[in-house]
Symmetry: D2
Subunit: 354 residues, 4 copies
């Protein structure tokens, strides 16, 4: 149950960081859709680690192998299954018990959930590595969405206290932002962000940030009231991305500091169509799209894996114990999380539209 999402399009993600492979089964794709694998690979590359100074030095050659669901590159209606073979597989003699859990990681909660049998190597099923198959699934869904005139855009809205500009909430025009090496609207701010990340890295520390996402081209009238609205479904799925701790739509938390007269979106007629003058609602009212861009922000906490010494415990002995984390970890996962948010948004919105 845990690793499956969606109603009509179901995404079943599998794999652990050091298992033989990781992958995804996508059930419910419409048939007859040509999938451009080069575009899929280019999208996945945006998430890949080791591309530059501010991400980890590990280099994963994530080559997805299609197991089923395509005939001559075209969806045939059967589930589309994909596997990426892991380069770093766990050795059999790996110590199964990570007795000293890393603060703010899923080590301890996972230990309690799975009675100590969870795969701890490299984070196991909780690893950020599992976002690679998510990106694959998102890249596939995005190609189908584009045919329908729907697009998804994301950028880094903030790193620590440094803020990028926001998308124009009425009309997104940052079409190429996903192709940027460091996806911000304001490159000067981007340079400040990079410096902040570098500073954290040198301090053996980490920083977090916010990703802004915009979905355009969705007509009014999609979604449902109450528990299956567009906000509900996006929120449910976005929290499936590791390190996410918050989501807000339109003005979000900021709306709570405004008067109704400031926050309400007046209607107007634009090019003969009903639109709103502002888009503080983020394109959704009562769980249902209103035809304006869907806008939401996602909060990513700072990477939990830091090289500074931390206080932990021995689970078996119930004693306090110092911990120093090794391995290679991003001082900030936000840049690599940008395409993941885009992917999950694409999967979710296709599930709603189809």
């Amino acid at each position: 149950m845990s690793s499956i999402m969606g109603n009509k399009i179901k995404i079943s993600v599998f794999g652990q960081s050091h298992s033989k492979g990781i992958g995804v089964v996508i059930d419910g794709l419409p048939s007859g859709k040509k999938i451009d694998m080069e575009k899929v690979m280019a999208f996945m590359e945006r998430r890949a680690p080791g591309r530059n100074a501010y991400s980890t030095k590990r280099r994963e050659p994530d080559t997805p192998e299609i197991l089923s669901g395509l005939v001559d590159g075209v969806t045939c209606g059967a589930p589309l299954a994909m596997v990426i073979y892991n380069q770093n597989q766990r050795s059999n003699d790996y110590n199964n018990i990570m007795d000293t859990p890393r603060p703010s990681h899923a080590d301890y909660s996972g230990y309690m959930r799975y009675n100590g049998f969870n795969d701890v190597a490299g984070g196991g099923h909780f690893s950020g590595r599992l976002t690679a198959p998510l990106c694959f699934a998102g890249a596939v869904c995005m190609q189908i969405l584009e045919e329908m005139g729907v697009n998804v855009y994301t950028h880094i809205l903030s790193i620590k206290n440094i803020k990028d500009d926001r998308f124009n909430p009425i009309k997104i025009e940052n079409f190429e932002i996903g192709k940027k090496d460091f996806p911000v609207i304001n490159d000067a701010k981007g340079n400040e962000m990079k410096a902040e990340i570098e500073k954290a890295r040198l301090n053996l520390d980490s920083v977090g940030g916010v990703v802004e996402c915009a979905i355009t081209g969705v007509k009014a009238g999609f979604g449902d009231p109450m528990f299956d609205g567009v906000e509900n479904q996006l929120a449910k799925n976005i929290f499936g991305i590791p390190a996410v701790k918050g989501i807000e739509f339109g003005n979000g938390f900021n709306a709570t500091t405004l008067y109704g007269s400031e926050n309400n979106d007046d209607f107007c007629i634009m090019d003969g169509e009903i639109k709103t003058v502002t888009n503080n609602s983020g394109g959704i009212n009562g769980g249902i799209t209103n035809g304006m861009p869907i806008l939401f922000d996602v909060a990513f906490k700072p990477t939990a894996s830091i090289y500074k010494k931390q206080n932990s415990v021995s689970i078996s002995e119930k004693t306090e114990k110092e911990l120093q984390i090794k391995g290679r970890h991003d001082p900030c996962i936000v840049p690599r999380a940008v395409p993941v948010v885009e992917a999950v948004a694409a999967i979710t919105i296709l599930d709603i539209l189809i």
Copy 2:
């Protein structure tokens, strides 16, 4: 699909603001649980309108009538169904077409979703009135949770820019907060909030705010990774409450401005148990509880129904048109939303624990 939530405990909410009745069917409750109806009524009373100066003057005598599921006040395993008969039922000659949608309401998106057949009287199925059955269901679930040692606490964290104190994230002790007429920790701040609401009311305007929720007594190891974690499910359901535009867990958006070394929760041994020194994670890591209180904030936008003139359109004529809203509306729905958040949290967490 839209109005049903839950996996093992399923809540099916029905009704429109002016339909004959509104209610809920709760499927999957454990059998043999004595339900104290006086406590249920007392809980529902916390949401009831017209109790004081800062809420609407309407007075709904919301008397739930149990249709099934209880035998001598004890759950029998069959679905527990409840109806509240509406006092204000729509007359047959009600104008079915609300041609001039209210800004930031679901009038327009609902019109598009239902091709103009949606019930617009009093907000129809989108009405805040539908939170009454939610509170009923929540009150029932809460009694079962209490037996399990689990409690849910909520208070107003902010109204506009005025902030209440936070719960102690390590150990909640505000047991009686729900019984307060105006549920804040710091009553002085509460008085400022009331003044702010009154000011908005006099200005024919409205204000929003944030509700903080804490769930205590949940042991480590509940929930699932990825898409069915505790955060995912709480988020999905909380967005079912009208006017919610954001949710964050633990430090939430604030975590994005901290270093990892500031945000990570070090482990410690307390009374022989593994705990964390801080609770910036809000009790959840990797979607799974870690034994600390579950903490989250919910953002409520200012009431969309304000008495100031606003710019709208005629849907049929596609022309711009001024709109002046009548009827009785809360200048701030946050105080009444407090028990609703509590109810949805209770339903969701019981569904996870059972």
Copy 3:
């Protein structure tokens, strides 16, 4: 979970035989559909008891009260909720423990499932009375199906060893069969069946039978392979009707005694359309409709409640004990089950088509 069915159209049934009310919430109906309540009532009347000699003497004036979901008789997109108030409500002093379970009833299994807290009065939630709301939901769905050119027909195929004729599997023409007092194609066989039922009644015994159902007007290409096919979904829901012990599609069990060359449905061109010469597949191949009528048989066991003395046990004392059942029970529930099969088929197929 137990009492909810469907994917896009969700049916949530509630009530016990002697609770205050029984009813149903239908979530996901398309908006803008005029529901003819007289036709709904006429359909429900087909299931009503006490209409004639071969059914129980009880007379339930089942008047459904619409609580929500309709505006001026037209679906508004919000859940359609309905309640029927029970005339025979359990008195508070009803003995909650039925210690002596009726053979082949759900008394014992229900006792074990609900730890003795299940409502035993009149069969509780397991009562055949719960098929009244199912018929309501089916009658509503059928009106929407008819607009789409889809019809559902059912008749008694057999009572004990007496067999009615079958529907013409290629082209159903028994349009009025549902309106018959005793719904058989061959009235002479119907008279024999009635005599068989009367004989059982006089012997303080009961008989069962088979209901044949045909769904016409469904084009080729609906359904899904593997676990969500048309057969899977119909089977899942049909077993929700009390006393059903088997289901078969097309030739069903009889197909196992034929050669492939006898059982295969050759294709042909009829009126310019691709059809099959025979319809041994019952309109479904690989879980997906092929454009021929969907045909299936449903086996109803003889009524478990018989007046003959039977051997039971005392659950509390774990001793054997004789049992003589009182109350009023149909010596054969098949005639009244006919519209229930029709209703469940209608709900299921609408869920698939919508």
Copy 4:
């Protein structure tokens, strides 16, 4: 949606007959369970083709490769993913359009469902080959069930008109039946069945049959009333096996020819426990187990692929056309279907019990 089953344990099957691989993702398995891969392989071997005279000559070396979910052979709580690489992969120049559908196959309905884009090579996703991953999943679940004292037994109940003995419905003792080369209770009848299959083969024809399944060790009180009962779930999943056209529980269709006094299961005390004297109910009353063995029969139609000439059509030209099928097909799939029924029963019952 189509290829996923289960509530707590979710099985997602992927692959086409000639795709690169076929496989399954099992989500929700309890952690800490040692899986004996040799037993899994031995179980899968029971389904493998080409083992003897009465099955097809093709030989598939179905070697499952575990991608994730196990650590040192023990379930770690993460999804267990498995792939079998196909030996016969489709060439790129394969003619994508099978214009002449095989009678009683999913060729035509699949064409209509997927607008002609379905993979027709070797039956695509509808192929019986997809039962290999089902057997894998079943074999895994069965090991967990055995630990709980639950066992599943299946045998051929009939081939055409030749009937095997039935399991003793009160106490199953045919523990080794699954290991038989030709799984019948009565070997003399088995020889007659083999002769019947051989006769069909020589006539370029095929035969079907019935499989009986018994699940033992399930205590009373599992399942749910109405739509999620044990019968509902077993029926839903069993119809996921290709060629199944009917299912019946306990006496099933035969119960319709009996009097209630003959069909009812009297209670008795046996070894201090409440049992029933007979087991005509097949272990289930009101959707809930009663502690007796769960018994059901599954009808398999004769193999649709026969070598005799048949009448088909050209889909593109809408003209009638003769068809002669080539390739290698079992004249009777029932022997190989026996472990598949066992597997699906195991998966379903584990999902209910867990």
